[in-house]
């Protein structure tokens, strides 16, 4: 494991960003970050376009895990029986759930979810139907995102104040935000093991909080796991393991399982509106589902290529998704009527979108991987309706992962291949200009997405390595 921090001119920027380290935390609770699947961390005390230019994105640590990691989820600061911890949770294809203290890069606990099914476990998977645990783990995600804190935290120069005593001047931060209150009681980490059981694990220990319950057929390709309002949702696709393609839910209070089967159409992903309406894209259509019954409330024909994403613009929510021809659609949240159709010109589309709001101008941005680039669209209002205006297009990024946004900085992974290693890029969210890349720091390629929390971006590679890039709070 390597730990690096505060190199070259970075210290000055960090001082300007100040020791203020503690803007209210927004957690990465499931794949896509939140229930709306915005893939966005709205504020970060240390990552900003300025600090990234000044070198804040350092390789911090890497850990070798057993099995290929899925994108980690990040809990708030916790008071555990072993002290205050900043924990992330990552599931791996080996049916392991690993808790890592991301501030120090050490494993806190590791739990192996024992296979418990009459079905024979799949030992060797395929690219379409991989073996083992396939879904990223989830924390309980609120339907509505928390109110945003101060705009783009961490900007601004230090001020001069005079300390008492010897009269010496001390450069000091202009403000020091309050450290978020730590969570005192352990919540749950939700994981679907390869045998199809849903596990609710103690965040502090990895032990089952309640007995695991039968959820989905074993050996299925499960993904888009998310826990909302004491119900866990997931989808299955590609008919893997004989499991039907479907959207699934299990009510944790009584383990009642509901489903919406999609026939031959694979389900691509899920997202929630803040009223609880659940959206699922498939290779055939997009559907609005009732949160409890999974009954269809509205539909729009596809086929789609990306998971849906819900975004807010001028106090109204909309649904966005992309299709296999590179089109990006904006839809009415209730009827799924098409409001925006950005032509795609036949280019390929990534697997998920991202969205963020520039806090000063309130400009809403939609990000999509189209072809070999990330494209930034600005949401604008024209003639009483919305439209997406292409504002920038990034440099070429081979096999780009779904983008994520951290405090206005876009991160995207060139996933690499058997013959080339992955590279993480940081782009200016307003211009798409490259701010930084990880160079040769990552060895190996990635088949999953990236996530962020605690001023770090996490990348998992096929060989079971989890990398952290970003800012590390100095211990010394």
């Amino acid at each position: 494991m390597s730990l690096k921090c505060c190199q070259k001119g970075l210290c000055a920027t960090l001082f300007a960003l100040n020791f203020a380290a503690f803007a209210p935390a927004q957690n990465w609770m499931a794949v896509g970050g939140d229930a709306q699947r915005s893939a966005s961390v709205r504020t970060d005390a240390h990552i900003s376009d300025e600090s990234v230019k000044d070198g804040v994105m350092q390789p911090l640590w890497k850990l070798q895990l057993t099995g290929s990691p899925t994108p980690p989820v990040i809990a708030p600061r916790l008071i555990t029986y072993k002290g205050f911890k900043d924990l992330l949770y990552v599931g791996t294809s080996a049916d392991n759930v690993v808790s890592i203290d991301h501030t120090v890069g050490k494993v806190f606990w590791e739990t192996h979810l024992q296979y418990d099914s009459l079905l024979v476990p799949v030992k060797n998977g395929t690219a379409t139907c991989p073996a083992g645990m396939t879904a990223a783990v989830s924390l309980a995600a609120p339907l509505a995102p928390p109110l945003p804190p101060a705009p783009r935290g961490g900007r601004g120069p230090g001020t001069q104040t005079t300390g008492p005593g010897r009269g010496g001047a001390t450069t000091a931060p202009p403000t020091v935000a309050t450290l978020p209150r730590p969570r005192r009681t352990p919540g749950a980490v939700y994981a679907v093991s390869s045998d199809g059981l849903i596990h609710s694990l103690n965040q502090h220990t990895g032990a089952d909080l309640v007995p695991a319950a039968r959820f989905i057929r074993g050996n299925a390709k499960v993904h888009d796991l998310i826990s909302v309002a004491n119900v866990v949702y997931a989808v299955t696709s590609d008919d893997c393991g004989g499991a039907p393609n479907a959207v699934w839910s299990i009510a944790l209070e009584n383990n009642l399982v509901s489903e919406w089967k999609t026939g031959e159409a694979s389900v691509i992903g899920l997202a929630f509106a803040t009223d609880g309406t659940l959206y699922a894209t498939t290779t055939k259509e997009i559907a609005a589902l009732d949160q409890k019954t999974l009954k269809v409330k509205a539909e729009q024909a596809g086929p789609f290529a990306t998971a849906p994403m819900v975004f807010k613009f001028k106090d109204k929510e909309y649904v966005a998704a992309g299709n296999v021809s590179g089109h990006v659609f904006g839809m009415d949240q209730v009827t799924l009527a098409l409001l925006v159709n950005v032509p795609g010109h036949g280019v390929s589309m990534g697997t998920a979108l991202a969205s963020w709001e520039e806090p000063e101008s309130k400009a809403r941005w939609i990000l999509a991987v189209r072809g070999a680039s990330v494209v930034g669209f600005k949401v604008v209002e024209e003639n009483g309706t919305i439209t997406f205006k292409e504002a920038w297009k990034s440099r070429e990024i081979a096999s780009a992962s779904a983008p994520i946004v951290v405090n206005g900085v876009v991160f995207v992974l060139a996933s690499g291949s058997a013959s080339s290693s992955a590279v993480l890029y940081a782009l200016d969210g307003m211009t798409g200009k490259e701010l930084w890349n990880s160079g040769t720091s990552i060895a190996g390629y990635s088949t999953t997405g990236i996530s962020s929390g605690g001023s770090k971006v996490y990348v998992g590679t096929h060989d079971g390595t989890l990398y952290a890039f970003g800012y590390l709070l100095p211990r010394e």
């Binding site: 020791f19 501030t103 005593g165 005192r184």
Partner: protein, 513 residues
């Protein structure tokens, strides 16, 4: 019985006039008894429980008895006596004749039940008296006064000889505000408060005993609490130094959390004079590893220095005239991590108070207790066995060309939650409290509650160690039956005292041999 009395009387005949008038042995909180001439490293192997006395003090939460104060040659109605003054959390003060182990007088402070108090079962905020009292200098007639801060926040001034009030009580602190050990400098009393108990602000407090209005002067570093076990330590210029506990550092708003502040009475105000904040304060705050140990202040080669520490488990050496240098963040020296590799906020790290002494060769020694296992990367020349529950660690202070260095010297045997030691005549006296210090649990997270901790506590063990090597010279084994929380050692005239949760005061001294 006759033999015992003979031994006690014999011991008495050799007693010198040593006192222990305040927590930590003096305003500088070094915990060094310079006037001990009876106990030494050759005879402490013969230590035994000379007496123990069951007091009628009722424990509250985990608190019970505070460190005894010892004063010799007190002119009582029955003649001159050596007296131990012991405070109990349920607002009791006991004066005990150390020769006979008889109570000479006792006082219970009565007051209307305060409207606010800490949460029931919360170990952090017990109701009642929580500050170790202090004994003032003798007056012209040779009489001494013990100052005690009752649970209702009133200062009582009692004649050490008979317990009678020598002054009208006056208000100093908040009721049930959890004040820490009293200290005194030029007739000014100091205390500190923490944890915001019963709505009490976390700050340093002072009052001039000569002021007829008894104006209460305070200074707040706006932090989580000044919870050094022995309150503030006072330097030669009258600056009271106290750790500030958990909190932020933001000089723009005069916020000095996770550091050490020094305040002094100027006119009728208590004003900040200086402060020290570790450069990694943000890390300390993020993991609740705060600076919370009463510092020890001492002279070394003509300079007045100070040692402080944190739950992170490292020791800082500071100059009282410029703590932390020009930027307030650069100590003269800082040790590596001594313990707490796990980064635990509850049962590891340095807790309580520091200690320091100088041997006959002029070597300045620094002592610190710590909890939990020693850090695997921390090495000492002399180890006294593996440490898993806590220990005392000793450093030598060296100076070369104006550069100061804390050199690791030895680490003691394992002690179950080692508490602040005291030093006398080449012997270190220490104890493992046997207290359960857990505040969080795997199934529940944070759930700091007295009943569970009391149930899971064991018993204290008292040790005497060779001050040069840390070698164990004496252990009380399982003779002490209960644990210690916020208690502490006192030593004077061949006796070492320790009060336990069950309100028993133990007196260790030499046996028949």
């Amino acid at each position: 019985m006759r033999k015992s009395l003979f031994v006690i009387a014999l011991s008495c005949a050799f007693l010198q006039a040593a006192d222990w008038l305040t927590d930590g042995g003096g305003p500088q909180r070094t915990s060094w008894q310079k006037d001990e001439h009876i106990l030494n490293k050759d005879n402490v192997k013969n230590l035994q429980i000379v007496w123990k006395i069951q007091l009628d003090n009722k424990p509250i939460e985990m608190h019970s008895l505070f460190p005894p104060l010892i004063v010799d040659k007190v002119n009582t109605a029955a003649g001159p006596k050596q007296i131990a003054i012991v405070a109990g959390v349920s607002d009791n003060i006991y004066a005990i004749d150390v020769l006979t182990a008889k109570i000479i007088w006792q006082k219970h402070f009565e007051y209307p039940e305060p409207k606010r108090r800490g949460r029931a079962t919360d170990p952090l905020c017990p109701a009642g008296l929580t500050a170790t009292p202090i004994i003032g200098p003798p007056n012209a007639a040779g009489n001494r006064t013990v100052y005690a801060l009752a649970g209702d926040g009133e200062i009582h001034s009692l004649n050490v000889a008979d317990g009678e009030d020598v002054a009208v009580p006056f208000q100093f602190g908040y009721p049930y505000g959890k004040s820490y050990a009293l200290n005194m400098w030029n007739d000014v009393l100091f205390t500190t408060t923490a944890q915001g108990c019963a709505g009490n602000p976390n700050q340093m407090w002072s009052v001039d005993l000569k002021d007829p209005k008894h104006k209460v002067m305070t200074y707040s570093p706006k932090s989580g609490g000044l919870w050094g076990r022995e309150g503030a330590a006072i330097d030669e210029s009258g600056v009271a130094w106290a750790p500030t506990g958990d909190g932020r550092y933001d000089p723009a708003t005069q916020t000095y959390g996770n550091g050490l502040v020094g305040a002094k009475v100027e006119g009728n105000e208590l004003k900040l004079q200086d402060y020290y904040i570790p450069k990694n304060w943000a890390w300390l705050q993020s993991r609740d590893l705060d600076m919370q140990v009463t510092p020890a202040i001492f002279k070394y080669k003509g300079k007045e220095l100070m040692i402080a520490a944190s739950k992170e488990c490292r020791i800082y050496l500071l100059d009282t005239k410029a703590a932390g240098g020009d930027d307030h963040q650069t100590p003269l020296d800082r040790t590596p991590l001594i313990c707490n590799e796990e980064v635990n906020f509850a049962s590891a790290g340095i807790w309580g108070a520091m200690a320091s002494w100088e041997d006959s060769k002029g070597t300045r020694w620094i002592l610190s207790p710590f909890w939990g296992p020693s850090h695997p990367d921390f090495k000492v020349p002399i180890s006294n066995g593996p440490v898993t529950h806590g220990a005392i660690v000793a450093f030598k202070l060296e100076e070369k060309n104006g550069s100061y260095k804390l050199i690791p010297a030895w680490m003691s045997r394992d002690m179950d939650q080692a508490e602040p030691p005291v030093i006398a005549n080449g012997v270190i006296y220490a104890f493992g409290s046997g207290e359960n210090t857990e505040q969080a649990y795997p199934d529940r997270g944070l759930d700091d509650n007295s009943p569970e901790r009391i149930h899971d506590s064991t018993h204290a063990v008292f040790y005497a160690l060779d001050a040069q090597t840390g070698k164990e010279l004496y252990s009380s084994g399982d003779q002490i039956k209960s644990f210690v929380h916020f208690g502490g050692l006192s030593i004077a005239n061949g006796r070492v005292y320790l009060g336990t949760y069950d309100s028993i005061l133990y007196c260790f001294g030499l046996g028949p041999k």
